[in-house]
């Protein structure tokens, strides 16, 4: 575990030169993904996420974020997205964020806000749920 965490330490984050081709951008995406996955144990320890989520769930959250942009073919756009991702990872690992940020953005994620997952509405009918959401269903 120690060598994995050491392998992923990001000391200083600077902008790299533009990637020459789509293949190089693709390689950089995989590198970024691997660095992120190797930082996941550190993140879980910093923010005390052991009871909330496990590592493979965080990994799939990361990969779904990457997959959202999987259709892009312009290397410069990919570089820009990687820069944003690296900055985000750097902020998380340096503890610039707080626990509720991580939980809200990556644990609960796109599935819905926390208050929607409460038990208050679970017994109600589908009609009522749709009615609360909008006028047209």
């Amino acid at each position: 575990m120690g060598e994995r965490a050491a392998a992923a330490s990001l000391k200083f984050v600077t902008v790299q030169a533009n990637s020459a081709s789509l293949a190089e951008a693709r390689a950089r995406v995989f590198e970024f993904f691997k660095t992120t996955c190797r930082s996941i144990p550190t993140v879980m320890e910093i923010y005390n996420l052991q009871d909330v989520v496990n590592e493979s769930q965080l990994r799939s959250a990361v990969s779904s974020e990457i997959r959202r942009h999987a259709h892009i073919t312009n290397p410069k756009v990919i570089d820009m997205l990687l820069q944003k991702g690296t900055e985000e990872l750097h902020n998380i690992v340096q503890h610039s964020k707080q626990r509720h940020h991580i939980i809200g953005q990556y644990v609960v994620g796109q599935r819905g806000l926390v208050h929607d997952l409460g038990t208050k509405d679970e017994g109600t009918s589908d009609f009522l749920k749709n009615f609360y959401k909008s006028n047209y269903f």
Binding site: L10, T14, F30, S63
Partner: protein, 135 residues
């Protein structure tokens, strides 16, 4: 060059400064140096041993693969199943390798990771790394 490479010879590309030198440089200069961590280089050319992995290892690998690709439990995942045939794209393959790293607590080098195509490859690589770690 590597054009006539045999099936078991994977030459590593030369890597720049190892980690120890970079940290020393940071302390000396005081100004932030921009570098990303590079893992230390192993022996220059690694001969890949194609020995048979233990069946438990193959089983564990198959379990990780099935969970990652969300395959139903009845799907037959044997040593020869290719990741691409099971419906994994390249990101899935990387994620599976990461899952295996976590499960077996090892660290897979990039060049070795490139050459993984089937479940058996992954199991062999894992066996080798575990053996090296415990040795």
């Amino acid at each position: 060059m590597a054009a006539a490479s045999t099936s078991s010879f994977i030459p590593l590309k030369p890597r720049p400064t190892p980690r120890g030198l970079s940290t020393i440089a940071v302390l000396k200069l005081g100004a932030p140096l921009s570098f990303s961590f590079r893992r230390p280089v192993l022996a220059p050319a690694r001969l890949r041993i194609s020995c048979v992995a233990k069946p438990e290892t193959v089983e564990k690998v198959a379990k990780v693969v099935k969970k990652q690709l969300a395959l139903p439990a009845e799907t037959l995942v044997t040593g020869d199943s290719k990741f691409a045939a099971l419906g994994a794209d390249s990101l899935d393959t990387v994620e599976i390798v990461m899952g295996l790293e976590e499960e077996f607590d090892i660290s897979v080098e990039e060049d070795s990771a490139q050459s993984i195509a089937t479940v058996q490859d992954a199991a062999d690589l894992i066996e080798e790394l575990v053996r090296k770690k415990c040795a």
